[in-house]
Amino acid sequence: MAIKARAGWLKLDSFSSCKVILFLILISIHLCELNAWSPSAMHTNNWAILVCTSRFWFNYRHMANTLSLYRTVKRLGIPDDRIILMLADDMACNARNKYPAQVFNNENHRLNLYGDNVEVDYRGYEVTVENFLRVLTGRHETAVPRSKRLLSDEGSHILLYMTGHGGDEFLKFQDSEELQSHDLADAVKQMKQKRRFKELLIMVDTCQAATLFSQLHSPGVLAIGSSMKGENSYSHHLDSDVGVSVVDRFTFYTLAFFERLNMYNNASLSSLFNSYNPSLLMSTAYYRTDLYKRPLDKVPVTDFFGSVMETIHTDSAYRGFSVKGTDKAEIKAPLNLKASQAERRALSAYHQDQISDFNKEVCSFHCIWSTLHKTVVEKIEDADTFVNYGLVVIIPLVAASTWLWR
């Protein structure tokens, strides 16, 4: 009985131990997941990359789309040095533009999008797939200026808006080349590995837009497209004065949503995404949230479309970014790498010997100085306090010598 009971207890024990082990494994997986997902960095800055990929006069509306979004994003607080604006052609100063240096996105011509502070970073033929991918991944030639680089870090939220002509899993650049969806997915994966963003919102306004981000698999990415596979995206209306369509439907309704906002509204992304009416758009605005962990109704639109930062007011002087402690750490760290340092010391001593043998007669003072330097100085770890002590010692030294001299 006892044995049976014990065996029974053992069995139960093994079963419960299995359960415990399984439970632990599940917990660890969950924790790993959490670790992989939990953001280690704070959201510190917002970037916007606005790309218009079409050229020619009849693609006026794509330019107007991009410039409208540029205006919105600037109005809501992102400064020019955080915006990379890529326009593939010049509509404002196009020979066919009846209103030179003016770009409108509505036939009422209420807003001139090409005001006096538009900074275009990539213009004309510079808008290529290669440059676009270089901007995303940050792999530029050394001569590329900072204004053309995406200098984001692991605390950045990036808005990537692309408009132009697209199709099933591609986006057309400049009527001569394509960006494919897996290229985009690879670039985003590189960005994630290099910690170039914390969260990324991709907004695409082309035909069959949702296919462009179908291959994405990096966490922290939210994507919305103006139409699904097999659907076209349509322009909103034709401006008979300018002669071409001036805006696309998806962007028009996006702007209608944003024109109601100012910098301090905390409208959420879910309200933006739910504002798209398929019957008005004549297509289905599709968004994927499987890679994005935050619930959309908790994310304010200004996390991507604007830049509202929390400021902390402090009275103390700016202390710089390294405190004394890190200084000490820098000095102490080499001591841990004893082997390499010993090697280095041996090498330098060897060189010193060679040099000293070579000019023994000439540089006696120099040799004395260098040996003194090696022995005395390198032993001293905390240079600053030693210098302070030395300075403090000067005054009594002078006073004593003066008094004794008399």
Partner: protein
């Protein structure tokens, strides 16, 4: 007693005045004026260098700070410390006020020593009547008051520039040399040379002071007196020994004593070694001693920063071709070195005055002059007020200095801020200032030599 009481009243009033100016709201922006703050002496640059040092970068990065690392350790923490409700750089300004006070006291002590030596030498030349006939003012007191109340000194003290410390060190070395305290003189000279390169030429007057003693009439007078005494005493005719007679009336010949000079050299090398060791430790990770020498003394000699100042070099080097740049740098610096030897030969019996002339010349022709340098030599000029009583053009110089001090900021404003003037306006005031300094040097040397001639005439007449 009355005089000393009034002296101290004036001293305390000047300190009070400085404190009032420090607490005044900073409308004057003295730290931004090129006449006051040069790339070498500006306190804002020192604060920047200190911040760079605290961020574990070399303090010389970015070509902002060009001073000594020891100044960084002393003044750096003071620039950062902020007390609620007080103006910024308060602690540094208080330190400069203290430095000014100590400088004035040292000038006074030097003046007293000089005056004592002067009256002694006059007495030994039997020119006591000269002493009593002319009303000799206490040169030390007057020089100290001139230094404290000179508007240029006050502007330098209040205007966030590190010149007061350099002036203190130069005066310290002169004081030590006058009193023949070799360690003090060596300390002052080494540190003054370390902070700004030009006091290195003061080694000659310091050595002369240590060797010969304070200013005295020319040795010829003493020799003449001795020989005439020898000639007049009857017992020296023939072969009779005349030692006992002459030994009684033998005048102090001030032979050149080598011992204090040797001690000075030893102490100078000790202090130099000390300073170099401290600096190399301080800059251990950022290039060491060579980097410091390149960035401080190299910066002074190569004139890298051409921002306008009250000197004459910036205008010239803004337009000289690169091919000739080194040549003209050598020319300008040799301009100072040329005058060292002739002046030393002519004025070796008056080393303190020689120091004044050297300071005046170097502050005129140095790479980055400021009003702090002229504050120093105008203060030291007060030490010789008895000998230079008959200096010509003194009123003209006085008005000239006032005029240049007032016009120079105006021209700078016209040029930089309003855009209605150009660099020539500002350079005109710089040239006028240089001319005034030249006239001052020439006339003061002339007046001193005239004074010596007058002494010689009087002593020979006496005989």
């Amino acid at each position: 007693m009355e005089k000393t009481r009034w002296f101290w009243v004036w001293v305390i009033t000047s300190l009070f005045f400085r404190l009032v100016l420090i607490y005044f709201p900073e409308n004057l922006n003295l730290g931004f004026r090129p006449e006051v703050a040069t790339p070498l002496t500006s306190l804002r640059r020192l604060a920047e260098g200190y911040w760079l040092k605290q961020s574990s970068m070399s303090p010389y990065a970015g070509s902002m700070y060009h001073g000594s690392p020891m100044l960084l350790s002393i003044l750096g923490p003071l620039t950062v410390k902020r007390i609620e409700g007080q103006p910024s750089h308060l602690m540094c300004s208080l330190l400069f006020v203290v430095a000014d006070l100590v400088t004035a006291m040292l000038i006074r002590a030097t003046g007293q020593t000089l005056q004592l030596a002067y009256s002694q030498s006059l007495r030994s030349l039997n020119l006591v009547s000269l002493l009593e006939s002319s009303e000799t003012l206490s040169a030390g007191d007057i020089a100290a008051l001139v230094y404290l109340w000179n508007p240029l000194t006050i502007i330098t003290c209040v205007g966030s520039s590190t010149s007061p410390i350099e002036n203190l060190l130069i005066v310290l070395s002169l004081y030590g040399a006058c009193l023949r305290i070799a360690p003090l003189a060596a300390f002052g000279w080494v540190l003054a040379m370390h902070l700004s390169l030009y006091p290195v030429i003061l080694i000659i007057p310091v050595i002369l002071l240590l060797g010969y003693g304070p200013d005295a009439p020319p040795r010829k007078l003493f020799l003449q007196k001795n020989s005439s005494e020898n000639g007049n005493s009857p017992s020296c005719h023939g072969n009779y020994p005349c030692n006992e007679v002459t030994s009684q009336e033998k005048l102090p010949l001030h032979p050149f004593l080598w011992r204090p000079v040797m001690h000075f050299m030893l102490w100078a090398s000790f202090w130099l070694f000390y300073v170099f060791v401290l600096c190399s430790i301080s800059l251990k990770q950022h290039g060491g001693l060579l980097e410091m020498l390149k960035r401080t003394h190299g910066f002074i000699l190569t004139m890298e920063d051409l921002s306008p100042n009250i000197g004459v070099l910036w205008y010239f080097f803004a337009e000289v071709f690169d091919f000739f740049r080194d040549f003209f740098l050598i020319v300008f610096h040799i301009n100072i070195l040329f005058m060292i030897l002739p002046l030393a030969i002519r004025l070796k019996h008056r080393p303190c005055f020689l120091a004044f002339v050297y300071i005046a010349i170097s502050s005129m022709l140095k790479s980055y002059p400021s009003v702090g340098d002229s504050a120093l030599y105008l203060g030291i000029l007060g030490l010789f007020i008895n000998e230079l009583a008959e200096m010509k053009f003194s009123f003209f110089l006085f008005c000239g200095y006032i005029g240049v001090s007032l016009l120079s900021p105006v021209m700078h404003n016209l040029w930089i801020w309003r855009g209605t003037g150009n660099a020539n306006f500002y350079f005109a005031t710089a040239i006028a200032y240089a001319c005034l300094q030249i006239i001052l040097v020439v006339e003061s040397v002339g007046a001193m030599l005239n004074h010596d001639r007058m002494l010689r005439k009087n002593s020979t007449v006496k005989l």
